[in-house]
């Protein structure tokens, strides 16, 4: 009898340890935890959803599954019961998965701030069948999300845009495109010699010149100042500057104007100052907005003055229209912008705080630079 009891106790122990061992070994096999956004991007201030998907593709139920991850607090969940917000939003959700089940939970949130957000990993915790042991694993995630610069009201952006368009129209100059052949005509005394079509002239017996299509150079360079961070006013002015740049660039691209954006702000992925290169066509608008979403404003950035000088050295074109978007009221950016414009007109959009005292405001004016004040 004693032997039987001993054997039974031993068998119970074996079964008990076996179930623990099996759970410990197989609980995370064929288990997938995915954290995804339901779309790639939203504009600042809009709502989106975060999808938590648990796939338990095996014949082992998981009584409890705790999924934890951290995310920027600029993305604010509608239900904050399961979140702890400090420097980041730390979220913990509890699931349970029966055998061969997929569970999808939708978490609505609001994008409060422009930016590029990533969720790098999740911590998955489970408890065994008897809720005695805690098992933890980490699962990498590759979730990225763009919060694009906020949309600006159409009537607000119309004013600076019409001024820029006015300048473009007044500065239109026709350049011959040697690769676009338009036709042939008789030679005039004012025609340059290089345009004479010698073969056609020989056949005709009189001088004939080639006609070329004209190119209309309409490139606008947006110079965006992102210096400074920390105070609410500076952050707001920076965000407004970026939104203005995004709205202007999008409209110009829509109207077939080439746009280049240069900024002293750094790209969060590359760590280098932003330079979009020449963007053409409306299809590049989203690409441009994404680049602006990745822009980081911070202190001790290279001064805008230097960026403009570098641009002057790099471009050398006199037909570019320069638009500076900077909140800077103290530094003397005006002479540099004039130099960059090369005697042509330029625009300075100056976002400023509505409550700023008059004595702190810039009073300088320029003959070539039109200053458009943008009240925030």
């Amino acid at each position: 009898m004693i032997l039987t009891i001993f054997f039974l106790v031993l068998l119970l122990g074996v079964v008990f340890i076996a179930q623990k061992f099996l759970f410990r070994k197989f609980w995370d096999k064929n288990l997938d935890v995915r954290i995804e956004f339901d779309r790639d991007y939203v504009f600042c201030g809009e709502d989106a959803n975060l999808l938590e998907t648990i796939v338990n593709n095996k014949y082992l139920p998981l009584p409890v599954l705790e999924v934890g991850f951290d995310m920027s607090r600029a993305l604010a969940f509608r239900e904050e019961d399961n979140s702890t917000v400090s420097d980041m939003t730390y979220r913990r959700d509890i699931f349970t998965a029966s055998v061969k089940q997929r569970i999808t939970r939708t978490l609505p949130f609001r994008a409060r701030k422009r930016g590029y957000y990533r969720i790098a990993s999740t911590t998955v915790t489970s408890h065994d069948f008897l809720m005695q042991d805690k098992l933890v694993t980490h699962m990498p995630q590759t979730t990225a999300f763009f919060v694009l610069p906020a949309r600006l009201p159409v009537e607000q952006i119309r004013i600076p845009y019409s001024r820029i368009m006015g300048m473009l129209v007044s500065r239109r100059r026709v350049y011959d495109d040697p690769f676009e052949f338009a036709g042939i005509r008789d030679y005039r005394r004012t025609d340059p010699m290089k345009h004479i079509n010698w073969k056609a002239s020989a056949r005709n017996g009189s001088l004939l010149v080639n006609l070329h299509e004209s190119t209309l150079s309409q490139q606008v360079v947006l110079l965006l100042d992102c210096e400074g961070t920390g105070s609410a006013v500076t952050d707001t002015l920076n965000e407004t500057s970026i939104s203005i740049a995004a709205a202007l660039a999008a409209r110009m691209l829509q109207d077939g104007i080439s746009v280049t954006i240069c900024s002293n702000g750094t790209d969060i992925l590359t760590g280098k100052p932003l330079h979009t290169g020449e963007l053409t066509g409306r299809s590049t608008a989203l690409h441009m907005r994404r680049q602006l979403a990745r822009l980081v404003c911070k202190n001790n950035l290279p001064p805008m003055d230097g960026i403009m000088r570098a641009e002057l050295e790099r471009s050398g074109k006199e037909n570019n229209l320069y638009v500076l978007i900077s909140k800077e009221q103290k530094l003397r950016l005006l002479p540099t912008l004039e130099a960059l414009a090369g005697g042509h007109e330029a625009v300075w959009i100056l976002p400023e705080d509505r409550n700023m005292p008059e004595r702190h405001k810039m009073t300088e004016t320029s003959k070539h630079v039109e200053i458009v004040r943008w009240m925030v």
């Binding site: 009898m1 032997l3 039987t4 009891i5 054997f7 039974l8 068998l11 119970l12 079964v15 179930q19 064929n30 997938d32 796939v55 593709n57 014949y59 139920p61 998981l62 009584p63 409890v64 239900e79 019961d81 399961n82 913990r92 959700d93 509890i94 699931f95 349970t96 029966s98 055998v99 061969k100 089940q101 997929r102 569970i103 999808t104 939970r105 939708t106 408890h127 069948f129 008897l130 809720m131 005695q132």
Partner: protein, 402 residues
């Protein structure tokens, strides 16, 4: 507007009832042990009857729990206690049973006054199983006490163990749900369903392991003091055997030989293990069948904000890719190709401080190990031949490379 009543979950009710039963299970064998002394009847049947009768203590335990829970004033509680004592006396037919009833009511009252939430009357504990040793131990040492206690006590102990296991499991589930109750979207109902189901499955397995052999057990042991002289009875026994010895044919002697006890034990263990395995298989089969059947009717459903989808067997899920099996020569592979590949691998591993990454090409692995020279170049050529060429390496190649 009617006030919203909070529904008590079924598992909570089961937990409370198990708490009542825990008291009854401890009391019953002890009552069955003391009862014969009071009654004077030591027959096997009376003892069994008294042990089962002792389980009726669950009624006063339940009543005292209800009185302690729902009667707020002390006067109604005292009246209820009087009623409980009377019911206990009536049930057991002896005034002596007033003593446990009074103790029960007093400690319930005491616990209520002190605010004790984890009363030993309602929570089973594993050390309490030691109490089940008292009756069988007494029957082992005193031949006057019936040996039935040695049969019933392990059964009571096993049932108590299962009860304790179930109550602890339910308690942990309850505690987890209570701790996280404030969390949004907590699937408390499904957590309870799954964890209680798994707990029940483990309990069934434990029951299948424990109860059948204990229910079949009939062996009773008695303590026999060592005899004064050991040789005398042996001698008489042998003499008896010699006198009664009758010669039997060979075939009859074979029939009379008792089977080897060790072999019998092993066979019975194997039989038991097979039966237990069949039982466990049956439990899992029933669970699996029920699951498959339920999923025929429901492929997906919503639970709060969760969308729960049941996956089909043929459903190709994008699960993380399994780690690819490394294409290495087998341990017993002694072909020239395997030898060359092994030699190359050893050379690289010896030369490099850290092993090369799996994605590295042979040239990259050599650069990583900073290996240069004619010998490695030759080995490199042979390795590529062994790894990628259709013909592979020959014995001659190996000999050349030595």
């Amino acid at each position: 507007m009617t006030p919203k009543t909070r529904r008590i979950p079924l598992r909570r009710i089961v937990f409370i009832v198990l708490g009542w039963l825990h008291g009854a299970l401890i009391f019953a064998p002890l009552y069955g042990f003391i009862f014969p002394f009071l009654n004077g009847s030591f027959s096997r049947q009376d003892i069994l009857h008294s042990q089962l009768f002792g389980l009726l203590i669950v009624i006063p335990i339940a009543l005292s729990w209800l009185a302690g829970r729902y009667l707020r004033g002390i006067v109604p509680y005292l009246i209820a206690c009087a009623g409980i004592i009377a019911v206990t006396i009536l049930l057991f037919g002896t005034r002596l049973m007033a003593i446990p009833a009074i103790v029960l009511c007093f400690f319930r009252f005491y616990n209520r006054v002190t605010g004790e939430r984890h009363s030993i009357f309602d929570h089973a504990t594993y050390p309490a199983m030691l109490l089940f040793l008292i009756p069988p131990a007494a029957s082992f040492f005193y031949t006057d006490i019936n040996g039935i206690y040695q049969i019933t006590a392990p059964i009571f102990a096993a049932v108590y163990f299962l009860l304790c296991f179930a109550q602890h499991g339910l308690g942990r589930i309850d505690e987890y749900v209570a701790v996280n109750n404030t969390m949004h979207n907590l699937p408390a109902r499904r957590i309870a369903q799954i964890s209680v189901s798994t707990l029940a499955a483990i309990l069934v397995i434990f029951t299948a392991i424990l109860l059948p052999p204990l229910l079949q057990n009939n062996s009773v042991y008695r303590y026999e003091p060592p005899p004064v002289s050991e040789s005398a009875p042996v001698e008489t026994e042998t003499s008896d055997n010699t006198t009664e010895f009758v010669e039997q044919p060979d075939w009859m002697t074979h029939m009379d030989v008792k089977p080897n006890p060790v072999l019998t034990l092993i066979l019975s263990i194997i039989e038991y293990i097979l039966l237990a395995a069949v039982c466990v298989g049956a439990v899992f089969g029933i669970i699996f069948g029920a699951l498959r059947l339920s999923r025929l009717f429901q492929s997906s459903f919503h639970d709060k904000d969760d969308l729960v989808e049941n996956l089909r067997d043929d459903h190709a899920e994008a699960i993380r890719e399994r780690r690819q099996r490394r294409d290495r020569p087998g341990f017993f592979d002694r072909s020239p190709n395997a030898l060359i590949r092994r030699r190359y691998r050893k050379t690289i591993l010896r030369a490099s401080k850290q092993p090369p990454e799996p994605w590295m090409s042979p040239a990259e692995a050599e650069a990583h190990a900073k290996l240069t020279g004619d010998s490695i170049e030759h080995l490199h050529v042979l390795y590529e031949k062994a790894r990628y060429s259709a013909d592979g390496c020959s014995r001659q190649d190996i000999a050349e490379n030595r």
